[in-house]
C-alpha cells in the first residue's frame, strides 16, 4: 500500500480524492454506498447566507460526454445549515469543507463568519465561479480585481484553510490564480463549470430554463487539465484539480499536471462509487510505477 496522504495548507488528507461541491449533497446521501470517511475530504453543496430556491425546471440537459446544469445554488441558507446539516456531517472522520457563495462581499463575509464558528468545518471553498446566479457568483471570479478583493476581505475574517474556486470562463486563469494567492488564499481549486448552452431543434427552445448553464463531465477534461497545468506553473500554493474526472487515470493526469488533490463531480451521478474506485486505482498505479508516495507524482509531468 503506497502512501496516499497529501497536504493542502493545514489540511491533512488521507488521500487526494475529494468530492466536488453540488455533486455530493451533504455526504449522507452516499452513506448507503460506501464509508465516506475513506475520502480525502468532502466539499458540501454550495451554501448562501439566505435561503435560495434556485432556478426553474428544467435545470439539466445531457450533452455529449457531459451535462449542463442551471441549479442556481438552491439551498436553505446558513441558519438551516448550522441547525440541520452540520450535526449530520460532524460525524465524518474526514475533512469537511463548506462551499461559500455570495452576491456581495458583505454576504461572503457574513457567511464565512458563521461557518468559522463551526468547529468541525476544516476549511472553506470560496466559490467565485458559479455561472448560474444572476448577481455576484461568477462576476467575482472573472474579474481579477474583484477576485482579489473578495479573497482579501474573507481572509481577514477566516483563519482556517481558505480555498478559492476559480472560474474557467476567463481569458487568463493563471493571472486570477496569482491574484487570489497574493491576497492570502491557501489553495486554489479549479475548474468550476464552463458556461454553455443546449437547444432542442424540434421545439426550437433552449433545454434549460435559464437558456445558459454550466458544462461539466468528461467533455471539459482536456481544458480543465490545461488550466490546472497553467495555474500550477503560476502559483506556489497547492492546486486542487477538478473537471471531468471519471477514474483513477483521469485523477493521475491532473496530479501529473500539478494538482495536489482532485475533486470528483459529475462522475458521482453516473457511478456513485467513483471516488472509492479512484482511491483503489491510485494505489494500483503507484505500485505498478514503483512510487511509494503520491507526493512524488505531483507535477511529475515529463516534458
Amino acid at each position: 500500500m503506497a502512501d496516499l496522504r497529501v497536504k493542502i495548507d493545514k489540511l491533512e488528507l488521507k488521500n487526494p480524492v475529494m468530492t466536488a461541491s453540488g455533486t455530493f449533497g451533504n455526504g449522507v446521501e452516499f452513506d448507503d454506498f460506501f464509508n465516506v470517511d475513506k475520502l480525502g475530504g468532502i466539499i458540501l453543496k454550495g451554501t448562501t447566507l439566505n435561503h435560495r430556491e434556485g432556478n426553474d425546471y428544467p435545470r439539466m440537459a445531457e450533452t455529449p460526454s457531459g451535462m449542463l446544469n442551471a441549479v442556481g445554488l438552491q439551498n436553505k441558507g446558513v441558519d438551516y445549515f448550522c441547525d440541520h446539516i452540520y450535526p449530520k456531517v460532524e460525524k465524518y472522520d474526514t475533512n469537511v469543507i463548506v462551499n461559500v457563495n455570495g452576491s456581495t462581499i458583505e454576504e461572503y463575509i457574513a457567511l464565512t463568519e458563521r461557518i468559522n464558528e463551526l468547529q468541525r468545518i476544516d476549511a472553506i471553498e470560496l466559490n467565485i465561479s458559479c455561472p448560474n446566479v444572476k448577481q455576484g457568483g461568477m462576476a467575482f471570479g472573472t474579474s481579477c480585481p474583484m477576485a482579489e478583493q473578495v479573497t482579501k476581505e474573507v481572509r481577514k475574517v477566516y483563519d482556517k484553510t481558505l480555498i478559492v474556486k476559480l472560474s474557467p470562463n476567463v481569458t487568463n486563469i493563471a493571472e486570477i490564480a496569482r491574484g487570489v494567492e497574493s491576497q492570502g488564499a491557501d489553495a486554489v481549486s479549479l475548474v468550476n463549470t464552463f458556461l454553455g448552452m443546449a437547444i432542442d431543434a424540434e421545439t426550437r427552445k433552449p433545454m434549460l430554463s435559464t437558456v445558459t448553464g454550466g458544462l461539466s463531465g468528461p467533455a471539459i477534461k482536456p481544458i480543465a487539465l490545461r488550466m490546472v497545468w497553467q495555474v500550477a506553473q503560476a502559483v506556489k500554493i497547492p492546486v486542487i484539480g477538478i473537471g471531468g474526472i471519471m477514474d483513477a487515470t483521469d485523477a493521475i493526469e491532473f496530479i501529473l499536471a500539478g494538482a495536489s488533490a482532485v475533486q470528483v463531480g459529475t462522475a458521482n451521478f453516473v457511478e456513485p462509487n467513483t471516488t472509492i474506485n479512484i482511491i483503489e486505482g491510485l494505489d494500483v498505479y503507484l505500485e505498478k510505477h514503483n512510487y511509494n508516495n503520491i507526493n512524488n507524482l505531483i507535477g511529475g509531468l515529463q516534458l
Binding site: F33, K45, Y57, R59, E62, T63, P64, M67, P272, N273
Partner: protein
C-alpha cells in the same frame, strides 16, 4: 431498504410490441422490500450518446425468483440500446430509489390510472393492492389498439378499463373521458402515472370528484438519489426533488394550476 449499486443478471427481455420491452432482472437483496412506485437507475452500455443513467419504474417484483422487472419504451438512444439487451447479460443498476405510492387499506376501492409507458409502475401497485384486499380498478390509456400491452396481466389484479385516442379499443378519448372517472363509483384514491398533461387532467377530475389523487412524476434526472438538485418540481413548500421526495406526490402538495 438501503440503496445499492449492483450488477443484475438479465433473465428475460420480452418484446411486447414494436417499442415496449419487459426486462427481468435477478436481484441479490430481497425484492419484497421494494415499494410500488419506486424506481431504478440504469447505466446504459453500448450507447455512446448516453452519458447519464436512465430511470425506470419498477414494473413488478417476483419474490419466488427474487427478481424485478422494468418496462422500457424505446424512444431515444438510451432506451433503444437498453431494449437490445440479451438474457444472460448484466445491467448496472442503482436501486431502489424514491418513495412509493400510498398503500390502500383492506376493502378500499382504488383507481390506478396509467397512460402510455406510465402503466409501468401500476402492475406492482395493482398486485400489492389486491394482496392487501383492496378493490382494484385499473384504467389504461394508449393511442391505439396496437399500443395497448399487458391487459391480460392487469386483469389478474383488478377490473380493467381501457381507452384509445382513436377508439380502436375501449372507450374513445383520453383516460379522463372514461365513464369510470365520472364520479359514479366512489374511489378512495386515484393513483396515476403518465405524460404530464394526462396527469394534470386526472388531477382536475380528482378535484371535481373530491377524490384523493397521487401522481408519479418523471422529471429529467442526473443522479436519481438527491445530490444534483436537477429534478425539482414546485410544491407549496418550495422546490422538491422528484427523485428523493417523489416520484409520487399528492396533487395537493404540487403547485399545479388545475
Amino acid at each position: 431498504m438501503k440503496k445499492e449499486v449492483s450488477n443484475l443478471l438479465v433473465t428475460k427481455n420480452i418484446a411486447l410490441n414494436h417499442d415496449n420491452f419487459l426486462i427481468e432482472l435477478k436481484a441479490d437483496s430481497p425484492v419484497e422490500q421494494i415499494l410500488p412506485g419506486q424506481f431504478v437507475n440504469v447505466k446504459v452500455e453500448k450507447s455512446p450518446n448516453t452519458f447519464l443513467r436512465r430511470p425506470f419504474s419498477v414494473h413488478d417484483t417476483y419474490p419466488v425468483t427474487n427478481s424485478l422487472s422494468i418496462l422500457v419504451k424505446a424512444i431515444g438512444d438510451g432506451t433503444k440500446a437498453l431494449s437490445a439487451i440479451k438474457e444472460g447479460q448484466y445491467l448496472d443498476v442503482v436501486f431502489p430509489l424514491g418513495n412509493g405510492f400510498k398503500m390502500p387499506s383492506k376493502g378500499e376501492t382504488v383507481l390506478l390510472i396509467g397512460g402510455g409507458v406510465g402503466i409501468a409502475p401500476m402492475m406492482h401497485l395493482a398486485r400489492i393492492s389486491k394482496e392487501i384486499g383492496a378493490d382494484v380498478h385499473i384504467l389504461l390509456g394508449a393511442r391505439t389498439l396496437n399500443d395497448h400491452i399487458l391487459i391480460e396481466e392487469f386483469k389478474r389484479y383488478g377490473k380493467v378499463h381501457l381507452t384509445t385516442d382513436d377508439g380502436s379499443l375501449g372507450k374513445k378519448g383520453f383516460v379522463t373521458d372514461h365513464p369510470v372517472m365520472d364520479g359514479e363509483i366512489r374511489f378512495s384514491r386515484y393513483q396515476c402515472c403518465g405524460p404530464d398533461p394526462m396527469m394534470q387532467a386526472v388531477a382536475r377530475k380528482a378535484k371535481q370528484n373530491e377524490t384523493e389523487c397521487e401522481v408519479s412524476l418523471e422529471n429529467m434526472m442526473a443522479c436519481g438519489f438527491g445530490v444534483c438538485l436537477c429534478c425539482v418540481t414546485k410544491t407549496h413548500e418550495g422546490n422538491k426533488c422528484v427523485c428523493t421526495e417523489g416520484p409520487v406526490f399528492n396533487i395537493n402538495d404540487l403547485e399545479w394550476q388545475i
